[in-house]
Structure formats: C-alpha cells, structure tokens
Symmetry: C2
Subunit: 316 residues, 2 copies
Amino acid sequence: MERWASNDLLVGPLISTDLSLDTERSNVRVTYQGSPGTVIEAMVLKAFPNCIAVPHKRSEGALEAVESSLADKAVLTIESSSIGSFHQSYDLLLSHNLQIVQEVQTDVELCLLALPGVQKDDLQTIFSHPQAYVWAPALDFAQCEYSLSNLGVSKKNVDHGAAGAEIISKQNLRDAGVIGSAQSAELYRLNILECNFQDASPNVTRYLVLARTANIPSEYEQYKTSIVFGLEEGPGILHKALVAFWKRDLNLTKIESRPNRGKPMRTLGTEKQFNYIFYVDFEASVAEIPAQNALKELEEIASFLRVLGCYPSTTI
Amino acid sequence: MERWASNDLLVGPLISTDLSLDTERSNVRVTYQGSPGTVIEAMVLKAFPNCIAVPHKRSEGALEAVESSLADKAVLTIESSSIGSFHQSYDLLLSHNLQIVQEVQTDVELCLLALPGVQKDDLQTIFSHPQAYVWAPALDFAQCEYSLSNLGVSKKNVDHGAAGAEIISKQNLRDAGVIGSAQSAELYRLNILECNFQDASPNVTRYLVLARTANIPSEYEQYKTSIVFGLEEGPGILHKALVAFWKRDLNLTKIESRPNRGKPMRTLGTEKQFNYIFYVDFEASVAEIPAQNALKELEEIASFLRVLGCYPSTTI
C-alpha cells in the first residue's frame, strides 16, 4: 500500500500498458475523491490491497486521470443505505467515457476521534472531513446527525484540502473532535473516542470501480449491468421501457431518474414538464440472450441508450 | 406582504382557526427554510401575495410550526430541473404529519449581485446564500457552477443565519458578489450585475405546499396525487406495484426511491441488499374510481402505503 499526496494534476510517470484488470500488480493506481484517512481511502486500500491510492480534490479529477491513462481505476461512491443515491456520481457516469468494471459494497464504520487524553466532555467543536465540491454534502455529518445532536457540540466544515483530523493533530486542538475512519486515527495519531458513531447500523455504502476498458462478460458469471437511457414523451413510455426487462425475468435492482441536463424541461401543450433520463441496474450480463433482447427492445423506444458497464459485485 | 425575522422558535400568537385553504386572508402564515431575500422567499410571496412569510433556519422547524398550528402552510423545495430531487424533502414528507395541498412550479432566475458601482472585474469572492442544514447543498453555487468558473473568483459559503447579501451590504465589501434573487438586491440595496446567471435556462423548480388538513378533491378537478409505499421482497414486486397504475392509464409523473431509514438493508441469502421505499406521483385525484382501485390493489402488496396529498398544480 502506498499513499500519494492530494493532487488534481497528477504528475507521476505515464503508464503505457492498461492494467485495468490486473488488481494484483503493486503499481495499479486507483484514484478517488477525498484525502488520506477518509473512509473512501480505507475502502480503496481494502479492495485493492497492493494499489497506489491516489486522492483527488474533485471526482472529475479522479475520473479524468483514468481517462487520460494517468491512473488505472477510479472509485466513485454511488449510494449509501443511510443517505441514498449520490447524484453527482450518476451525472459523472454519463459525462465521462469510462466503464463500470466492479461494484464494491461495504459496511462503513465511522468513529469519533480526538487527541490522546481528550474526553467527550472536552469537545466544543466537531470538524467534518473536507468536502471539495459544492454538490457533495458533508457526508460524515449527515450519517451521524443524531449522535452529534446528542453530543451538543458545534459543527464545522473545514476548508478544502485540509482534513479535520490533520488540523486537530497539527494545531494540537484539545477541544475539537472529528468523525472519521479508524485509519485516519492511525494516520494522524488520534484516539478513537467512540466506534460506530453513525446513526444507522449497518451503514452500507456502494462504490463503483471505473476503468477505460470494459470487462469481457461471459454468460456463466453472475454479473450486474448498468445502463442509462432517455425516452421520448408518450403515455406509459417508462412502463414500456421497464417491461422489456420484467417480461424476461430480469431483476431490476435500481431505477434512478435525473433531469436531462442538456434539455431539462419539455413542453406538453402549455405545460412545462421535467424531462428525465433513467439509470437502471439489472442482474444479468450482456452476454446473456435475454439481456441482449431486452436492450434491443429498449433501443427501439429510447432516444438514447448507453451501457455503463457489466460487472461483478463484491462485498468486503 | 410582511416579513418575519428568522426564527426557529416562532413566538407569535397562536391561531385557533385553520386557515390552510384560505390563501387570500392577509394573516396566512407561510413558513419556509431560508432567509429574507432568498429565492424561496420570493416564490412564497409570489404564490401567496398577502401572506406573512416566516423564514426558518431548518426545514424541520418550518414543518413543525405548521404541525403545531403556529403557522398555516409550509413550502418545501422538492425538485429542480438543473439539480434533481431534494432528498431531504422526501424524507421530511414521511417523517411529518402534513398533507400536500398544492404544487407550485416556477422558473427561478438567479442574479449576480454586488454593491452599487462595483464591476464584475472588481470581484474577488462570491458568497453563497446561507445553508442552514448539512444536507442542503449550496444550491445557488450548484446552479451557477459554469458561470462561476468563467468568472474565475473564489467561492465562499457564508455562516448560518447571515446572508451573503447582508454581509456585503453591512460590511461594505467592494470586492465581493453574491448570487441571489432580484428581491434580495432590492432588500439589501445591491446592484444586479447579471441576470439569468444560472447555467441552465429555464431553471424550473417545483415546490410543495403543506398544510395540516388535506384538500377535499372532486373527480372533476385536475389533481395530482402523491403516495409513498414500501414493498416486501419478491421478484418483480415493483413491477406489480406500478402496473396497478399503468393498467388503469394513470400517468406516473415521478418515481423516487429512498433507502428505508428504519430498515435500510435486507438480507437475501448471504447477500445484503438495499431496502427502498418508493415515492410516486400520478395524474389523478383520489376521488376518481381508477385511482381508488389502483391504491386498493397496491395496498394488497405494499408493506405500508400513505397518501401524502391530492392537489392542484400551478405554474407561476
């Protein structure tokens, strides 16, 4: 395991060979949005034990590094059981030209951390991890809202690029705590005041691993497929789209609708209605005939259709 | 029109009569999450011209004021064509005991504001409107992301309870701008440097108006109905639920899935899967027989079902 400094303009050497399916090689570079010691870094290092984990300030930077071959894989948080879908991630799947090659599901345990010797009663302020992008909510806070209100302290979002744990450690703040992973306690020499500090337990998070090259699925593997499509207006059109899957007993695990950013509204008579695009996950590989037929049927009525990836799902 | 100071513990006199359907009375109190001069206040004053608009720091406070009869209506932002669904609002519909009585759709125009005499080239910093709750993204920033990056200034979220416009005005900041409504320019004596500053135009936002008492719908009125339901696990169960509407030609305008916060995960064999609840809007009144039959059919397979409201939709 190796950590890189936070850097949106990665200056490491170019990799000429595609390592996207080679998770065992020690120099596989996996990008993520966050900073060392965050929950997502812990997940990256657990899922890819021999990787070089490369933090980026923005998710776009993490994805662009893979697109431009500066890194091999990017990890994107897509859904949390306590918060719901991460909509920015859905938009990024569409705006970037990468393939989903793996889904990783893990139970995220958040801890309340402070300097050694500091007790809960000493805490006046709780820092959140930095949020580099306006759309990203203060995730740690949102997941620990109830626990925090019980503690009765003030909450503070820290500036970009400096983790709360780092601030506490460097400035020797004895009246401040931070919510983070057990790994960040180790990294910044903090004590864990409370484990499982999040409100909901289990607190499962789904991550998607993206790479430049798609998996080659076989019909004998248990894969999931993710697609995104648009529909022309018309009565019951979404029903027609979904029936293509249901009538072939293809189980849909997720339907997510987002405004079509290119054309967010449509006019019906004098009425303006929202114009959506749909993200659907189903349990099958595109190597299977029923999945291929469902996609062909959908293509006939869709204004556009893109397969975002066909991938195995792992729980770690 | 009358403005109240921001206050989560509303101390005004109790209203003994229910004014929830009487929008013309000058003392109808309409609560919202935000502060004077924000886009949502402008919408409240446009939709209810004679109301007392009561700002709250948190959406929960705005809803609780109506539940406890301290106010008559609450306005909740539910969806924006440029950003998507406001998930916290969906959770609040479930956790509070209020009825949707109206939907209001409006084209939101955001302006770039600064002190009189200040030019775009003078700007070093842009303030966003205060965001009182960690789940609420810096909406104005998110809607103007592209325009802001063209301007090349630093962005700053201001602290709770003090609008950026107010800070600029009071501190006479000549190198700072703020994104806001034309109303906030008037309120804080700022100049409008640019209109339609948001990235997407039109930038339509849907608001829901909540009250203690449900509308009494008739089958002759064009109403929408919003419901929320849970489903037991089983193959194609969501299909069965939605077919109840489609086979009766009831047009679904929105399907939103959220993790079930009470039980966010379900176990299938050794696998943990996300456990969702579903929010559905359809174009019919519950006074209509097909809608009643669809709801009865859904009730047979749903683990719970609640009608959130039956209401007219207005564009202003």
